[in-house]
Symmetry: C2
Subunit: 399 residues, 2 copies
Amino acid sequence: MAAPKLALLTSPQKNAILEAMAGLLAASQETILEANRTDLESSDLRPSSRDRLLLNPARLADMLAGIRAVISLPDPVGEVVADWVRPNGLRIRKVRVPLGVVGVIYESRPNVTVDAAVLAFKAGNAAVLRGGREAVHTNERLVELLNRAPGLPAGAIELLDSRTHESALELMRARGYVDVLVPRGGADLINRVVEQATVPVIETGAGNCHVYVDKEADLELADRIVINAKTQRPSVCNAAEKLLVHRDIAAEYVPRIVERLRAAGVEVRGDDLTRRLAGQDKVCVASREDWLTEYSDLKMAVAVVASLDEAIAHINRYSTQHSDAIVTRDAARAQRFLDQVDSAAVYWNASTRFTDGGEFGMGAEMGISTQKLHCRGPFALPELTSVKYQIVGTGQIRK
Amino acid sequence: MAAPKLALLTSPQKNAILEAMAGLLAASQETILEANRTDLESSDLRPSSRDRLLLNPARLADMLAGIRAVISLPDPVGEVVADWVRPNGLRIRKVRVPLGVVGVIYESRPNVTVDAAVLAFKAGNAAVLRGGREAVHTNERLVELLNRAPGLPAGAIELLDSRTHESALELMRARGYVDVLVPRGGADLINRVVEQATVPVIETGAGNCHVYVDKEADLELADRIVINAKTQRPSVCNAAEKLLVHRDIAAEYVPRIVERLRAAGVEVRGDDLTRRLAGQDKVCVASREDWLTEYSDLKMAVAVVASLDEAIAHINRYSTQHSDAIVTRDAARAQRFLDQVDSAAVYWNASTRFTDGGEFGMGAEMGISTQKLHCRGPFALPELTSVKYQIVGTGQIRK
């Protein structure tokens, strides 16, 4: 069991080990890329999945930069969160401690192997990783190198066999051994983990994000935000998938934004009014399924709403509670949106694309939680810890 | 859906509703006791379970006092946890919000119905309660009265049918509708919930708690703490179940504490050395099963350990990570114990019996979490909330 030893490492010890890890990866670039080539050759993936699996010198440099970023992050372990004395003289200190063992189940992106391992480690945790079978050689090489860092307790970073389904199932059901399980990947993976796991899970990822353009919106600003939120990187979870437009400005704004979206290569779907306003040849029919779907692609569904309340209700009904934005000049209407939309990140006059540990200034990110328990939104080191109560007495007993 | 309306209630509104609830219960004492008598007559319970089910005027008064305690607690909703501005001008505020819908599955104690409902409500949540079938009439009456409070949104407190197993299963699998599920009861109930739930769970309760008497202990103080931790209320989760004694003082201390435990009515079990030191007629054999068991009864298992490290290792192996104590005069040894024993509450020279929301000064308690995710140890209002990020921009887009 590595976890108890890891919990006792000091911050300088942990940072020295992280430096050594970065050095080991840097010194073995060639063998990492070779392992990655083996994976790429033996795999039978779609181009987008191949791209996620691919490593090259630039991506390896990003990995090393990621380790250095984690070195520079403050160590949350040992922080005294609260400290008080009871009338009976008991002194109670609430202290931040590592979670213990952090499990991560993910798909074929090898950078997750390194990101997850070093974040878990810096917060004093052991990591148990179960990556995609397509990345098996790359992941084995990476974990072997990370584990060579001098001073790292044996078993601190464990890679499960990704060739069998049993290893994933074992991890999901390792109650009492694994303290939290973070699934990183598509909706299927996440649903499977939530269904089958008996260890506590932090749900991540799915983003059916909305931009609502209010009747009081600056329409220039709305254009910028809608186009950015939809097209700047459509495959990621904080990209917008839906556009809601207030009825009072729909006649002006819907044709205009549909034109711009189409010019940017976006396939637009819409409700009846949207199609009438923009032209049925330009906007195809949005089904009920569309309002629920994260396209992760250059597609957007547009609806006209009668009021701010209807916009809020639509979002609370269909969104995945990830990131949703309002564009308006009216502060009171904006605050109502910020208060009543029940999502991890709610924006006023900004793109949904900022929901990200780096963009929030956290320095790194383990994932983006779309559940409300334990943590919500982007999370990194502090969220990979728990607390304990240390209570000092002088012989107090309960009456 | 009551949750969105509940989230928008102000603290004064919530406190007025809580006052009304207390008033309604107070005015209907007789009908509550009558419903309780119906339950007691129709149930076929062991005396200890009957006692948990029983209501009387004193217990009703405790219930009302509980509501008044919750009224006086600060409202966590709306607290700005953090507030910062990014270099691009985005202002990010991390704000405390209700979890949404809190599910509670429990056994036959009717006070849990009121405690759980009012704590969930004060933190802005809807409550979905599934109590034991033995308490069905009492719970129906209580929930009906609570729901009559003027201003309470319809559906704020829902009682599921406790006559069928399906209602419990539905609650456990209501992913997307229920934000957290708190099982309160014995190990069987908790295990069933953890096994079957797809909604996030806060595990509570099981307490296989230890007192370790170090070679540097003040033995008078050790006597007081051991006897109190074991006997003051043996049925509760923070009562001690195990006693570890350092080898260097075992010859003196083991016979003495075994004598005192027996005088207090405790059945003592022990390892070989304990039995030799105290007399095999006084101490029966402790099996491996004993070290794992929460007796919740006047029983205690005693082991002699060779060192502080062995004590820590024993506890980390067998305890339920609830509450464990060291008795010693040596501050360095105490701190090692506090740092290395991986439990929610770790004590130096005090009884384990203090692990309790009231004793910690929280004013109330929803339960005692024995998991590390979301919250650990006694938890109440702040732990029944989540956070959201409200982000205010001036048209920022991601480059």
